[in-house]
């Protein structure tokens, strides 16, 4: 009996041990997710993974609207790339003020942001998140892996284009970090994700990397305007190079205006892009027809070189063009004209920008969106608004902005009044014209003043509705008028901070605007604010990082 008991006990014990040892290595898996091997086993899986690499420009997470965000530590609705980038580029300048009391927002106006500013921190993490997605895709799409997964022929060719595009998108995000943060951590596909704590790079080194990457993929991308709408091609790569070179003096201390001319010229003379006739149709719900992409749903000629695409039903979020079509609407601005259900009474512009345009013949509501201003780009809302800003958080101080509207060029509402259909160009042709002109004026070679004037006047002619009355003469083409023209043509498109820095006007007292430095009439701020700080959170996580000077 006792022996039996011992047997029972031993058997039970052994059984328990064997169950336990199986528990020691048991891998339970979720039923509603896949491993990387599963995702990257088919061409369709590569496309869906690439949809994330691109989609993370427009979306905040995995659920339309909000609900499964990519970036922690920030309200998901505000965590998309463009809203964060736009806030850093525009709220810090004379182009925009906003009523919101969200964390860190007012600090941008007042130019008192700290190293834990929620907006710049959000942008930093968003950019590096997108870079990490690119690194992951690049690692998963080597020729060896494609071969081992049996992907060949047209599928493999397409994935190779994806891979080059992922390198382009990574270079673009590194350019964002270069411009905003200067000296970010640096990770590529060369190391396994998570295997090393990233080292910090410097502005010159990062500049060189972006330049070399863009040049390296030149032969791997589709020719200008030959890729599917929403995907990058050589046009985008050249446009980014031109922009990079234009700012090279700021980034590296060495001017590269000749290179800027070269690449702007490549875009312009490719013949793939042409300005659409009506400026006011640029930022509308059906603006995909403005793209030159031949395979898009719309026309085959246009001025958009590369876009972030939004859709009121299929690509929903509270950032990007949704933000630009909802936040500026308030006061007496009619929501139906904006194709939205309700405005968020947030952003306006300052008198400095209004002063760059001719005085409109009327400021009534009748001649929406630009009050019949001879410069059709002056899309501002006057009724109920004060030109002078006494209180940034009062919506009626500052003029309303009508440029971004979720209606089609025929006036129909976009697919959803809550979300937005407007696609936003990261690059469009007129910027390249202006890069060319500025680089020529700044002493770059390979271009000429007559062409520069011609490009400038092409923009003016379109702006004045085909009339030549806005055109300028050769002596009038100065650096100042180019800066002003950029403010007029590229208003609210995310260029202003970079431009003011390049012109040396961002921080010092030479040029002031309302609430620059927190003062009602503006005041100078220290020069170190030309760079944003590395977020203090990442300084705690990454011992390789050293804070930018001044912070």
């Amino acid at each position: 009996m006792k022996r039996n008991l011992i047997k029972i006990v031993l058997t039970a014990g052994l059984l328990a041990v064997s169950i336990t040892s199986c528990r020691r290595n048991l891998i339970l898996t979720p039923n509603n997710a896949l491993t990387s091997q599963q995702v990257f086993s088919t061409p369709a899986g590569y496309t869906e993974a690439m949809a994330k690499v691109y989609g993370s420009f427009a979306l905040t997470g995995n659920i339309g609207g909000a609900g499964s965000g990519d970036i922690a530590g920030i309200d998901e609705g505000t965590s998309d790339f463009w809203r964060l980038y736009w806030n850093c580029e525009e709220l810090t300048t004379d182009e925009a003020v906003i009523t919101y009391g969200d964390p860190g927002v007012q600090d941008l106006h007042n130019m008192v942001w700290s190293a834990s500013n929620a907006i710049s921190q959000g942008l930093y993490y968003r950019s590096l998140y997108q870079i990490t997605l690119c690194n992951n895709f690049i690692q998963q799409s080597t020729d060896e892996l494609l071969a081992s997964r049996g992907i060949t022929g047209a599928d493999a060719t397409n994935i190779r284009f994806y891979r080059a595009e992922a390198r382009f998108l990574r270079a673009y995000q590194y350019w964002v970090l270069l411009d905003i943060f200067g000296n970010p951590p640096f990770v590529t596909d060369a190391t396994e994700i998570g295997s090393v704590i990233p080292p910090q790079t410097t502005r010159p080194a990062l500049f060189a990397y972006i330049e070399s990457e863009l040049k390296a993929i030149d032969g791997l991308l589709q020719p200008p305007n030959k890729n599917l709408y929403g995907r990058a091609d050589q046009g985008a790569e050249w446009a980014l190079l031109a922009r990079l070179y234009l700012n090279a003096q700021v980034y590296t201390g060495t001017a590269r205006y000749t290179d800027a001319i070269t690449y702007a010229q490549k875009v312009i003379t490719s013949g793939a892009y042409v300005m659409i006739p009506k400026f006011i149709n640029l930022m509308l719900a059906d603006d995909n027809i403005n793209s030159g992409s031949v395979q898009s749903g719309g026309g085959s000629t246009g001025e958009f070189i590369f876009t972030i695409n939004y859709d009121g039903i299929k690509t929903q979020g509270y950032g990007g063009s949704q933000y630009l079509t909802h936040a500026p609407v308030g006061g007496s601005m009619p929501v139906t004209s904006f194709g939205i259900a309700g405005g968020y009474a947030g952003s306006r512009t300052t008198a400095n920008i209004i002063a760059l345009f001719p005085t409109p013949p009327t400021t009534s509501t009748a001649n929406f969106p630009n009050n019949n201003n001879p410069d059709t780009r002056a899309e501002f809302w006057y009724p109920g608004q004060n030109l002078v800003i006494n209180n940034v958080t009062s919506f009626t101080d500052g003029l309303g902005v009508n440029k971004f509207r979720n209606v089609t060029s025929l006036g129909a509402q976009g697919s959803s009044p809550t979300y937005c259909d407007v696609d936003l160009p990261l690059f469009r042709l007129p910027e390249q014209y202006l890069i060319y002109a500025e680089a020529v004026l700044r002493g770059g070679t390979g271009g000429d003043a007559a062409t520069a004037l011609n490009y400038f006047n092409l923009i003016r002619t379109r702006a004045y509705g085909g009339s030549l009355t806005g055109n300028i003469t050769a002596p009038q083409l100065t650096l100042q008028i180019i800066l002003d023209e950029r403010a007029r043509e590229l208003f609210w498109e995310g260029f202003r901070r970079t431009d003011l820095i390049r012109y040396g006007l961002f921080t010092n007292g030479t040029y002031l605007w309302p609430f620059k430095g927190g003062a009602i009439n503006g005041s100078a701020v220290p020069d170190y604010r030309q760079l944003f700080p590395i977020p203090s959170l990442d300084l705690t996580a990454n011992p390789n990082l050293i804070q930018n000077p001044g912070y």
Binding site: I27, V39, G64, A72, T132, V187, K314, T393, D538, N542
Partner: protein, 989 residues
């Protein structure tokens, strides 16, 4: 002669056992000390023991919850002896349920508190933990507001984790419950009928809890339900009727004050805001709250059917909320069978706890809306738009509604029906075999299953204002109305096998027990994804799912063992060890080892104190142990997985849209959080245990803290992970005093006091030593998107308020937009934030008293909390001029604090002002009750008693909001706890 001798040698002892109210006590155990002889009292409280040897005997009566009583007598032939038991307070011979077994209280070496049925809180108690609120030192129970069945946040010694689970493990009749919530249930514990509970054992320190290893870090609450008793069937019926009222309205402006304020402050030439004033005088809070009537009814039968002791009970609770449209109905059934076979060698315990809860959840957004909605407007519009509810309109908007304006509070409530039905069954079967040839050894097998099925629907009609502007359907046409459905099925099965040994080596005055066991638990949750529909029956495209279900599973496998040794009841030692394997961690780092040891010295049994009549018990306890935590994290997080976005998050290439595969963040290196606790304590008893209590000192150090910390950018697919970084500690003192001040047959008075002092400190939070790291912001508030008001900072308690320091003018009011420039850099930004007060109480107390005079009894239960601060989010987000004279072109009501502060709110930083941090220390009279026991009123009845209760009687506090008791310290429109008046009746047959 022989009969004579036998007659002369044995006797029969009969008698009766009654309780303090003279009611018979069935089921009391009567034994002749030093013999095997004994009996159990029957339904009339009577017993009969035959075959007792003549001579001097000592008869002892034991009954759970009562002090054992002994009477010595000399018997010769038949004898009668009657006993009158009085409730015990802290009886040393009380059997206390501990992890995987039970022990006598006097043998305990760890910090274990017990509360039995006789000491439970009375009145309207809907969830089990409310039975012991305020009764146990070191245990803070904060109800989640006043919604029916809302449950509570339970923290034992402050909780051990930062971002991992901080809830204690709850074990019901040997079944460790899952810590996950149940879909459709306000709280998982609201599925359990408190009336079926016999006792709580709370394992507070690691030396007691480490036997539960993996889940013991936050303490363990062991709940034992009532069991069957031998004897004739005993029937108990209780019913209670209660009425709940709103104790205090939120301090907002009345319609008259609102009118005056708007009139005084509208500076527009067009009188734009004054023109928005209406003629009505609506108290919106009166509109949304109601007097709620509730009932609670329980019927139980216990007894023995042949040799089968049983207890069967049914309960029906109808709990209506004071916020209109909130209610809960619970039907519960409990079956316990506890047969013994093979002359008590095999004890079987079968337990079934089943319940159905039907609940309707009110849209609690109505609470904030009632505080904001213009009080000069009427409730109803007089037309049929938006269901007839008056709403703010804007003729220029597409749907006619003013965008971003508050919605009619009553409409929010009445135009939404979010209802659920949840079933839960906890079934357990325990076999305890006392080995025939080796009775010191028990072989124990426990099998149990805890399953729940919760499902519900949320229906909102198309004309509800909340449904505008609407959601685009597949054709891009905006649709209104909602009909959505949810369902979640959970299962948690446990299989345990234990060997337990116990022997009293009398010759060497030594008692030894040993336990070894194996446990395996499998947890599974299956959530079903359903399509949502608009009111017109079309599918809401945003509800289209990629997978019909989401299944989440994890396994735990554990070995555990414990040895105790006691010498002469004076020196007690205990040691335990547990090994846990959790599939939530990667292979190789998924095993945790959790040892514990403790010792006690019963000083009062030493010779020099043995005869001391004043000091009846003095015990010194010391314990140390390590416990683990793997709660509050995902089941598969160590795996790199890709999940597909939904159809609203696609991306366009050319003319096609593609759903996106997102790589998830993964944390392959994550492992057990560990807490090491040292506990030193004194248990004491004076005057023959009339005054008892304990004093505990503890220090809990958590390492490998599950903290949500930033991830080095560029190294993972998330910028934050919950990883094993950091250290935290809790230290504190707990004092318990229970005194039976008067202890006579017809009159008794007992009081209980417990006091807890707890200090929490985060001692490290970063992987890299970063001296100037301010910490991680936490504690989201209303007012601006994702503003945080608290910080987790090294050197401070978790969730410390992190605010700008307001500057006050000569009039004592905060100066608009002016704050102290802490770092003197000339600008006010987040570098000027100061870490200040903590939302957690520094000290908290429970005080209760019970008086019985003959058939009357009366008592109260109260609590006090000191040093807890609250951020008054209602005042900060609505008590500013900008809210009343709203830039949206509307007028809104809000906190009357605007009259005191005069703030406009035009500066962006006002919500971060320390002006809104208020001392929320409080004293609360939780319950006052009175009862009368009729005793036997008619034939066949045993006892009839009636009682009256008032709950949430009054609160003394300086806090200006509705209720200073806010878990987490951010007061933003919490569902108010009702004041309830209850009448109860209890009848036993």
């Amino acid at each position: 002669m022989s009969t004579n001798i036998s007659f002369a040698q044995t006797a029969t002892i009969t008698g009766k056992v009654v309780d303090e109210t003279n009611a018979p006590l069935p089921g009391a155990v009567v034994t002749i000390k030093g013999t095997q002889k004994g009996a159990t009292t029957d339904v009339t409280g009577s017993f009969r023991i035959t075959g007792v040897a003549n001579g001097a005997v000592t008869v002892q009566v034991n009954f759970i919850g009562y002090q054992p009583i002994e009477k010595s007598l000399t018997v010769s032939g038949n004898a009668t002896v009657n006993f009158s038991l009085v409730p015990g307070q802290q009886d040393l011979n009380e059997v206390v349920v501990i992890g995987y077994g039970s022990a006598l209280k006097k043998d305990l070496t760890g910090a274990i508190s017990t509360v039995t049925a006789k000491d439970f809180n009375t009145g309207v108690v809907t969830t089990p933990e409310e039975l012991i609120q305020g009764k146990v030192a070191g245990v803070s129970i904060t109800t989640n507001g006043g919604a029916p069945g809302a449950g509570s946040v339970i923290r034992i010694r402050g909780g051990a984790s930062l971002n991992g689970l901080s809830d204690p493990l709850i074990v019901i009749d040997g079944v460790p419950l899952t810590s996950d919530g149940i879909a459709g249930a306000a709280s998982p514990l609201d599925l359990i009928n408190p009336n079926d509970i016999e006792s709580f054992s709370i394992l507070k320190d690691a030396s007691a809890a480490a036997i539960y290893g993996n889940r013991g870090s936050n303490g363990v609450i062991i709940i034992t339900t009532k069991k069957g008793q031998s004897g004739k069937p005993q029937v108990n019926f209780s019913t209670q009727f209660s009425a709940g009222v709103l104790p205090k309205e939120a301090p907002i402006l009345s319609a008259a004050q609102f009118r005056a304020y708007i009139t005084a402050n509208d500076t527009t030439t067009a009188k734009q805001y004054i023109n928005l004033l209406g003629n009505a005088n609506t108290d919106w809070q009166k509109q949304i709250y109601q007097t709620s009537f509730s009932t609670d009814n329980n019927l139980s039968i216990s007894g023995s059917a042949g040799k089968l002791p049983y207890r069967v009970s049914v309960g029906y609770t109808e709990n209506n909320g004071i916020l209109k449209t909130s209610d809960m109905d619970r039907y519960s059934a409990n079956i316990n069978l506890s047969p013994s076979l093979f002359t008590d060698h095999l004890k079987i315990n079968f337990n079934f706890i089943g319940s159905q809860v039907k609940q309707r959840f009110a849209n609690q957004g109505a609470i904030g809306s009632a505080n904001s909605f213009n009080p000069t407007l009427p409730v109803y519009s007089g037309n049929s738009n938006f269901g007839g509810f008056y709403q703010l309109l804007d003729p220029t908007s597409t749907d006619g509604l003013k965008a971003l304006a508050p919605l009619n509070p009553l409409g929010l409530l009445e135009q939404e029906n979010n209802s659920s039905t949840v079933y839960r069954a906890i079934t357990s079967l325990a076999l305890d075999y006392k080995v025939h040839f080796f009775p010191d050894l028990h072989v124990i097998v426990n099998a149990s299953y805890d399953g729940s099925n919760g499902q519900g629907t949320d229906v909102i009609p198309a004309n509800a204002a909340s449904q505008y502007p609407g959601t685009p359907d597949a054709n891009g046409v905006d649709q209104q109305g909602n009909n959505s459905r949810y369902k979640s099925v959970q299962g948690n099965s446990t299989l345990e096998g234990d060997l337990s040994y116990s022997h009293d080596f009398k010759s060497i005055k030594s008692k030894v027990t040993a336990l070894a066991g194996y446990s395996q638990q499998v947890f599974s949750t299956t959530a079903t994804n359903y399509l949502s529909y608009f009111a017109n029956g079309e599918v809401n495209p945003s509800s289209v799912f990629n997978y019909p279900t989401a299944i989440s599973q994890y396994d735990l496998a554990s070995f555990y063992g414990r040895v105790t040794y006691g010498y002469d009841d004076k020196y007690l030692l205990s040691g335990s060890m547990r090994e846990d394997i959790s599939t939530r961690f990667a292979p190789g780092i998924r095993t945790g080892y959790f040892p514990a040891g403790s010792a006690a010295w019963v000083i009062s049994r030493e010779d020099f104190l043995k005869d001391n009549t004043t000091l009846s018990n003095l015990k010194l306890r010391l314990g140390y142990g390590v416990t683990g935590n793997q709660g509050g994290i995902g089941d598969y997080d160590y795996l790199a997985d890709y999940s597909l976005s939904n159809t609203g998050a696609q991306y366009q290439f050319g003319n096609s849209y593609y759903q996106a595969y997102r790589p998830g963040a993964f944390y392959p290196g994550r492992t057990w959080e560990q807490s090491a606790t040292t506990n030193a304590a004194i248990d004491y008893g004076f005057l023959n245990e009339r005054i008892t209590g304990s004093l505990d000192f503890y220090l809990q150090k958590t390492s490998k803290l599950l903290a949500t910390i930033p991830q080095s950018a560029g190294t993972n697919f998330s910028n934050q992970i919950t990883g094993n970084v950091g250290n935290m500690q809790e230290k504190g003192v707990e004092l318990n005093i229970n005194a039976r001040i008067i202890d006579k047959k017809d009159i008794s008075w007992s009081v209980g006091l417990n006091a807890t002092l707890n200090r929490n400190e985060i001692t490290n939070l970063t992987a890299v030593v970063t001296p100037n790291f301010p910490g991680l912001p936490v504690g989201g508030i209303a007012g601006g998107l994702s503003n945080d008001i608290q910080i987790d900072q090294v050197g401070l308690p978790k969730n410390t308020f992190y605010t700008l320091q307001a500057v006050y003018g000569a009039n004592g009011k905060p100066i608009e937009g002016v704050f102290v420039d802490k770092n003197n850099d000339g600008v006010i930004n987040n570098l000027d934030l100061n870490a200040g007060q903590s939302p957690d109480a520094r000290e908290y107390f429970g005080f209760n008293s019970e008086i019985r005079i003959k058939k009357w009894n009366a008592g109260f239960v109260s609590r006090a909390s000191l040093g807890n601060y609250v951020y008054n989010n209602l005042a900060s987000s609505t008590g500013i001029q900008r809210n009343f004279i709203n830039p949206l072109g509307i007028i809104e009501n809000g906190s009357s604090n605007v009259l005191a502060s005069g703030l406009t709110g035009n500066g962006g930083n006002d919500v971060l002002s320390d002006y809104y941090i208020q001392n929320a220390s409080f004293f609360k009279m939780d319950n006052i009750h009175i009862g009368y026991s009729f005793g036997k009123i008619i034939k066949n009845t045993n006892n009839l008693s009636i009682s009256a209760n008032v709950q949430n009687v009054f609160t003394i506090t300086k806090y200006t909001g509705v209720d200073p008791e806010v878990f987490g310290g951010i007061d933003n429109n919490q569902y108010p706890r009702p004041r309830t008046y209850a009448l109860g009746l209890n009848l036993s047959l």
